[in-house]
Symmetry: C2
Subunit: 265 residues, 2 copies
């Protein structure tokens, strides 16, 4: 093979990969790709795909079409691992937080100390990747014992995009409220973890009481209702689960961070 | 360069592209990719990206984080075009419909003729890609005159995944209700279009009355309320816009089809 041949091959390989690529990060001349891919694909695509289309499954999770799932499909463990460890997860989170900060900037705040923003904990303020990377990125069944042992270490790193939003809210006088489905006995380790990671100045840390039997959605909705009943205005609400976001009162605006590793209803 | 060198280069290129690729369609040995990518990326990614990350923007749209947008970001026109024309759009739609059909299969139906399923029209039952492919895939401002002229042709092709769901519902006795934000004067052309594309047996075709001034969300919610008041059970509701899905009564279960080309509030 000549060098020219190699270059052509690389270009075609790059074009084909880029054309089938959700990330669209590769710089390829559109004029090269467009006729190639448009000639190869039928109008609406074939829809044929061997096994689970992991990126489509992930989109289904994020858009709340795929619900009540127990584990990541076994064939998607590698996909999810790369998604979480690579730049894709961070990039997707950045778009969410950029939208949230633009929303904050658009608000006319009363500045009366009654304006609050609800944050979830796991995969929202802090990342449990150090745990999940050792447990199949969600492809193995959730083990509450080992997860809670990990949570008690209080070592989960901050999610930097969420922290950017958190600091923005503090700077404009909106009070963070931490609302988590973690059990009450994890209060000290959770507070320590948040403090270590630079989350300071929150108004409340609300955890699930030992006797609570309902869903996460019901628990979180009822806690938001209490905030509202106490005269607080929930100007925003951010979490990685739809159960963080749905259920009245939701908050004036909600934000869904990505999480392809687990589902909580 | 030797052939061995070329092969290695191609393998590394493929690994790097695949690792940054949302579609994850390329078959690459995980054992080759994993150490490479995990060594190259910091734990949670850098988050740095020049310009708009088009795949992250699209995810933001689908997860209802990006709202009230007027046009596709100019730098994402090529990305959206390839997404829509290639297999990605179809594959994402397939996951949604697979979930919807699994949901239908899980239902214990009364079979009393009162069970209905609400379908939107544009980018739900039929595809306007023949129009949008000539109008920047949503990157140019929406032109109601030229779009309505196109709609009057009644030539939009069926979206095959939705049609699969539609036929499934007919087979189990759930009545389709077509509910669209299209104006009443497009009734004949819309009905003709649906018929030509094999959509038969719907119970109602509901279009926006000339005098209606509210949002699409308000219009569609009020029409669903009327159905419910008339004794119908909305067992499902599918559309490409969040305004098809949100607003009580939503329906017992909702499904969001992908649409990165336009936003209707």
């Amino acid at each position: 093979m000549t060098m020219a041949g190699t270059t052509t091959l690389l270009l075609v390989a790059a074009a084909l990969l880029a054309a089938s690529c959700g990330a669209w990060e590769v710089t390829v001349d559109d004029a090269v790709v467009a006729p190639l891919i448009h000639a190869l694909r039928p109008l609406l695509g074939s829809g044929r795909h061997a096994g689970v289309a992991c990126d489509s499954w992930r989109l289904g999770v994020e858009a709340y079409n795929v619900r009540d799932w127990k584990t990541v499909p076994a064939s998607c463990e590698g996909y999810v691992g790369h998604y979480m460890l690579g730049s894709h997860y961070r990039r997707d989170s950045k778009v969410v937080v950029d939208q949230a900060i633009a929303y904050v900037d658009s608000l006319k705040l009363a500045g009366n100390g009654k304006e609050v923003w609800v944050f979830d904990v796991d995969e929202t303020t802090v990342s449990n990747l150090p745990y999940y990377s050792r447990h199949g990125f969600g492809a193995t069944p959730f083990n509450v014992t080992s997860f809670n042992a990990y949570a008690q270490e209080g070592s989960a790193p901050a999610l930097p995009e969420t922290k950017r939003l958190y600091n923005k809210l503090l700077s404009v006088g909106i009070k963070p409220v931490i609302l988590t489905g973690r059990a009450e006995y994890l209060r000290a380790s959770t507070a320590t973890n948040l403090g270590r990671q630079g989350y300071a100045g929150w108004m409340n840390l609300l955890l699930k009481a030992p006797g609570f039997k309902g869903s996460s959605l019901a628990f979180k909705s009822s806690e938001r209702q209490k905030l509202q009943d106490a005269g607080y205005i929930i100007v925003g609400n951010i979490g990685d689960q739809w159960s963080d976001i749905l259920g009245a009162p939701e908050g004036a605006r909600t934000f869904k961070l990505p999480d392809p590793m687990y589902y909580i209803g």
